[in-house]
């Protein structure tokens, strides 16, 4: 019997487990601390952010087919503006943006307010960890600069777009009016922990200061980072020239024409991009490897594509795609301003029987797998920006030259020298025939459906006049008039999103009285 007892005790001792038996980590996730220690692994975090910029499903609790990151935000800003018309409701995606029926859904986590706020702030948070780690990150100087520079660029871009969505524009170049003291968005510049409280809304001045500081830092670092072995010239990453492109957008919004001109000009001169030719423009705009593309999403395979929750399904009219049930049209008033010889007329079909002025601009690269790269920034934009800024700075001839250069492959009979003046109409379809308007018309045509037209409308100080005679649907006009939406006033709050309720609930420094009207 004694033997049994001894054996029992032995058994007890044997099965008492080692300490490690209770330590497990997931197999497909891991701690960030180690990853961010070295530049060559920290780049993984930056890549994750890019991936999330074109991945649906994480930034909202629903409506994922219209919430798939940057391309969706650009589409929404197109759908909210003047040139991009939805023929009908279709399956409903982007229709609520189109008819200005999203602001009241700020209590829901499935709609645009939550989507945009959540996405940009998540990118900021991930970048803040990288920037925090940057100070001690191991690796060659240019490798660290390459990683850190992208973090600064993404953060700067995020604050720029947050300010743009959640506040009125800081500057109206037509009236000269500015509102730099208007509330912008909260600013965070260090990594989030469980003790991080919510910050109050900073003024637009502070937000733009942050955007400029971040983008300027990014430009310096990415200049160094060009030489990094980590830099594989992957256009789905933000390099020096994309950072400059973002800087030029920021300057346009702020009315800093000098800054916009310098940044855009530097891309044109130093960046090894070429102006898109007919073959690049007419093949569906679905490849970031094209020589005119500066930045986009390189979607490698069906595994990474969002299929229905993606850009091309909304644009391409192939069977089963949303573009078929809700065709996207160009405003006929704008279409009629395209030169007769302009190859870009081919991007739309005014003679289509059921959907006149329907777009043919964007096509799946691979229809069978519903694949295609998303394009976020093309070099042509830099030409239009440089031309506009030059003109606004008084360099009229330079503006004309830049226009003639970018338009040459588009319209052989184009000549900017026929145009002059900077007078703009009170609405975007009140035509004046000025050179400035012409630059903007070419920009609108060129970037239709891919840039987020409302970004420009806001900064220009013009209003929008939606008319059924230009192609807007009755349903859209009726819905807007019932809701009392009037876009002809450039100071309208209809363009300003509401802050999501979840933020008001959990942020002690932003309360109902801080909500946008």
């Amino acid at each position: 019997m004694k033997k049994y007892i001894f054996e029992l005790l032995l058994l007890f001792a044997a099965v008492a487990c080692g300490k490690d038996a209770l330590d497990y980590s997931p197999t497909d996730s891991g701690s960030g601390n180690k990853m961010l220690q070295a530049a060559n692994t920290a780049i993984t975090s930056i890549n994750g952010v890019y991936r999330s910029m074109w991945t649906a499903g994480w930034s909202t609790s629903g409506n994922t087919h219209q919430c798939f990151g940057i391309a969706a935000y650009n589409l929404a800003q197109d759908a909210m503006a003047d040139d991009f018309i939805m023929q009908g409701q279709g399956n409903g995606w982007f229709w609520y943006d189109h008819t200005y029926n999203v602001k009241s859904y700020y209590t829901s986590s499935a709609w645009r307010s939550y989507d945009v706020w959540r996405a940009y702030y998540k990118w900021i948070a991930d970048c803040n960890y990288v920037i925090d780690a940057g100070k001690t990150m191991s690796g060659e100087e240019e490798d660290v600069a390459f990683v850190e520079g992208q973090a600064f660029a993404i953060r700067g871009m995020s604050y720029l777009y947050l300010a743009e969505w959640f506040a009125r524009p800081p500057y109206n170049p037509i009236t000269g009016e500015s509102r730099w003291n208007d509330p912008g968005v909260p600013i965070y510049t260090t990594g989030t922990g469980i003790k991080t409280g919510g910050n109050p809304r900073a003024s637009l001045k502070e937000v733009f200061k942050q955007v400029n500081a971040d983008l300027d830092t990014a430009i310096v670092l990415l200049g160094k980072g060009k030489e990094s072995v980590l830099n594989k010239n992957n256009k789905s990453q933000i390099g020096l020239y994309t950072a400059l492109g973002l800087k030029s957008r920021c300057c346009l919004m702020a009315g800093d024409w000098e800054g916009a001109y310098n940044a855009a000009k530097r891309v044109i001169e130093e960046g090894e991009y070429t102006i898109g030719t007919e073959s690049m423009l007419m093949s569906g705009m679905n490849s970031i490897s094209a020589a005119n593309v500066m930045w986009g999403a390189g979607i490698e395979n069906a595994e990474q594509s969002g299929a229905y929750a993606g850009f091309f399904t909304h644009m391409d009219c192939v069977d089963g795609a949303y573009g078929q049930s809700a065709p996207k049209l160009i405003n006929s008033s704008l279409y009629n301003h395209i030169g007769a010889d302009d190859i870009r007329r081919g991007w739309w079909d005014p003679t289509d029987k059921e959907s006149p002025y329907v777009t043919r601009k964007f096509k799946f690269a691979n229809v069978a797998s519903w694949l295609g790269d998303y394009i976020y920034m093309r070099v042509e934009e830099m030409y239009f920006t440089a031309a506009e800024a030059a003109l606004r700075l008084g360099y009229v001839q330079e503006a004309r030259d830049i226009m003639n250069e970018v338009m040459a492959p588009r319209n052989p009979s184009y000549n900017a020298n026929y145009y002059s003046g900077t007078f703009l109409g009170s609405t975007t379809t009140t035509w004046t025939g000025s050179l400035l308007e012409n630059i903007l018309v070419q920009r609108r045509v060129e970037l239709w459906g891919e840039y987020g037209r409302l970004f420009d409308v806001r900064r220009l100080g013009q209003g929008i006049d939606r008319k059924t005679s230009d192609g807007f649907s009755n349903d859209c006009i009726t819905a807007m008039s019932r809701a009392g939406i009037n876009l002809t006033n450039p100071a309208t709050y209809d363009w300003v999103l509401t802050i999501p309720q979840a933020e008001l609930d959990a942020n002690p420094n932003i309360n109902s009285e801080d909500q946008n009207p």
Binding site: Y24, P26, S52, Y114, K122, S236, E303, Y308
Partner: protein, 1063 residues
Amino acid sequence: MRKKLTIVLAALLACMQLFAQGTISVSGIVTDRSGLPVIGAGVFVKGTTIGVSTSLDGDYKLDNVPANGVLSVSSIGYQSIDVPVNGRTKIDIVLDEESLELDDAMVVAYGTAKKESFTGSASVVKGDDLRKRAVGNVTKSLEGSVAGVTVTSGGGQPGEDAAITVRGIGSISAEYTPLYVVDGIPYDGSLSSINPADIESMTVLKDASAGALYGARGANGVIIITTRKGAEDRTNISYKGTFGVASRALPPYSLLNTKEFIQTVYEALRNGAQYGTGMDFESASAYAAENLGTQIGGLKNPEYYNPYKNYTWNTLIDQNTGLVKADAVASWDENWMAEISNNSAPRTEHVFSISSGNSKSDYLVTLGYYNEKGVLQNTDFERYTGRVNVNTQANDWLKAGFNANLAHTAADYQNFSGSSTSNVWYTAQFMGPVYPVYQKDMNGNDVLDGNGNRQYEYGDEDDNGYANRPTAQGFNSKAELFNNKAYYYRNAASARTYITLGTTDKEALLYGLKFSTNFGVDFNDYQRTVVNDKYHGNAAAQGGRISKTNTRVLSYTFNQILNYDKAFGAHDIKLMLGHEFYRYHYDYASGEKTGIMDGIDELAPAVTTSDNTTYANNYAIESVFTRLNYGYKNRYYFDASWRTDGSSRFHESNRWGNFWSVGASWRVSEEAFMQNTKDWLSNLTAKISYGMQGNDNLGTYYAWQGLYDYTWPNGTEAGAFASKLENRDVTWEKNGNLNTGIDASLFKGRLSVMLEYYSRKTTDMLLNNPLAISTGFTGFDDNVGSMLNQGFETSLRGTLIDKENFRWDANFSASMNRNKVLELTSSQDQITSGNRVIEKGYPIYTFLLSKSAGVDPATGKQLYYCYYRRGVDASGNTVNVKCDEYVTDNVALASLSKYYMGSREPLVSGSFGMNFTLFKNWDLSFLTTYSLGGKVYDSLYSGTMEVQYAGSNWHKDILNRWQQPGDITDVPMVEIGGSYAATDKYLIDASYFAIKNVTLGYTFPTRLTQKAAIKSCRLYFTADNVALFSRLGGMDPQQNFTGGVSYSYTPARALVAGVELNF
């Protein structure tokens, strides 16, 4: 041995008195209630030595029995009875099993307990009761059998689990379902892999005294399933076979037919023109007639969908009456729900078992087959099970056993849920009856394929050649079931094995000391295949799609337990000490490709990879536990338990939690002062317990860790995305659980009464502590908040009549639970989840909705009570200002003005059932359940009353709509895509009364069956899920615990006939 002893003793006693009488010969058979012969029962003439014991067939023959004598029949394990002879020569006797009400050993945590000494709250459901329910999944059979246990209807998908809560919802973010323990070891397999026929009993542990020994996993109750084993001294070979048919248990919602549908669409269009844009009636009617076609038939060739081929859309309606013209003839009028339903779905079951045992060893072998077709076409469930249970006392100090279950299940199922187009429960409900199921030509005739078969109509011009259906284009509910595939296989193996060391020799020094080690393993291999048609539907553009998902769970529990039982005079002591290690490993692999090879359900031949993932999860708990039971004079009982668990879910600094309980009970009836009540009050026990239980199941295995998710590659480069914030402090959710009550047994066991009160407070509740989302994270896992569940439970069981040829038993149970959220996070008093809130001071999932104020007779608009007005602030902006309540039709302001409207929690719920035994051969039973109070927000009903899309059908109640100024009704004017606030109009009283089961059985007299070498034969007929009486036809008030409904698989009613044979 013991039986023989009994007979000898009885004979000796009988010897003492002997009377001479007029005598006869008496013969008959002694059987038990189930008709099995009782072997070796002693049959004596009372007061004499005249007696025999029954043969192997249970029969006896006695000579020289006084005609006015009394037969006394007894057998171990049965209640002895006296039967007056009354001159009969043929007396068949049925013995009842000995009433084990008090001495019954019940299965509890880590062992068994005598019911009399048990201080906690636990209910046992016998396998026989469970088996009456004609269900494929044992969770569904628990309904109505235990007070305090709430069971959802679990849907009609064959094999699917029902969800269960014990004593209310105990958690918000963490799981609130009970822990399942099978044969002493926590179970990680699928409950559908267990053959209900293999279950001996289920014990539901409800309080801390009963469940605290399950430590970190016991807070929400424990359900212990004990499987059958071979019985001592009885070899039994049995077969059970059933055959049945299933149909919908709930009627579908009443929707409009084609004619009503078209008229309603027409009226909605006319209303839009008349009241929306201000046309007069005539112009509005003309507008409606003109637009009816495109509204229903789409932009291209709308006449295709016009079922009335002798009129065009714009001439179909008489514009004066708004009705379809009387001489219009419809070529079709579809009922999509009926098209996808199967109201005669067959099911069959075969169970074969052999068991035997002697004083040393026992064994049981069962084989089972179960096949059930669903009430949704082309869905089914099939199960093969095999179980072996062997136990042996190898020598006087070693006992060992092995119990294993192998199961293979296969099912075709409906793959989609919610309001996704592919969910046929959604699309078949809303699809207007005007849309044909099968392809038509322009004249309304079926278009046949090359083989002369009808073809599904997908609502797509590319497919039908004519037109686009405005709703669910490219989809057909019936085709979804037949042209797409969704099926799974599951292979499960569960084994339980043990070795117990401890002497059986009562004289040995260490008698009472036992050491056991148990090892239990659950292996579960699951493979799911989903194939989307390459010719039609949403994968047609990609040439079809196939996905395969494989998951594997391997978990094991290994424990070592030392037990010491000893009685010293009036003191009984039981001590237990144990150590346990639990390990869980889960593997996930899935692949998806497009461009499939028709008819080959494999990834290999498909063309393009669209998904490819693997990952694994790991989890472990290590525990040490102990329990002391002390009894004094079989009258006072006390127990205490303690367990410490270390869970891998938490950081090492907060890993170990302590869980404990204390309990006491007092058998009042054993006291001297109660002796004069003994004749009617056989037992009265008062008990009380309190303890602390835990819950670590917050959905993630890596609760504390800050993580980056590595599955975010950017094109060709690897990518990681921050997914979770670190919180080293996160730890167990705790449940302080107080239970007190009385158990009484009256009138010699004819009536037993249980009454309990409990109060269960959840503290350190696991919640997502919200962060401002501008920090990049929505929150982090944290222990905040508390919640209270308290309630009463009672159950009564009684034998109303117990005559020789008629026995009538009845049982009744009632439970009341009151839930209240006491505290949420520091920054939050309310968590909104759709129309419900979790709010401090209110029951969990309280409805917060706008309040309907009827319909304005002048305008036909929905009115609301409202306490907000529009105002202007100092800077000139429009703002909403709170004000006194008033009535408005402004939807935006009504949406702000919300009222607390109660929750799903019923006032009281329970069950009522009866069993009858007639002429010993007939048995009849029924079980009903009831629930009073509580509410359900019926979004399926609101969806058919406030139709949002052209082509969607309406509920019949829309016929009571407002039509012209002056109409008094509660249904506003019809609109398509109208804007409404969610109101209490669709909050439906959830009270119901359900007849869950009616069973009628007939056991053939043994004397007939024994000729065929059959010990017993019972035929029976069962109707399961017979009827539900509730407030709204079509609504399932038992769909979930939170008071919602969804487009999900409707529950099934089954009519089953069966045979049970024992050889």
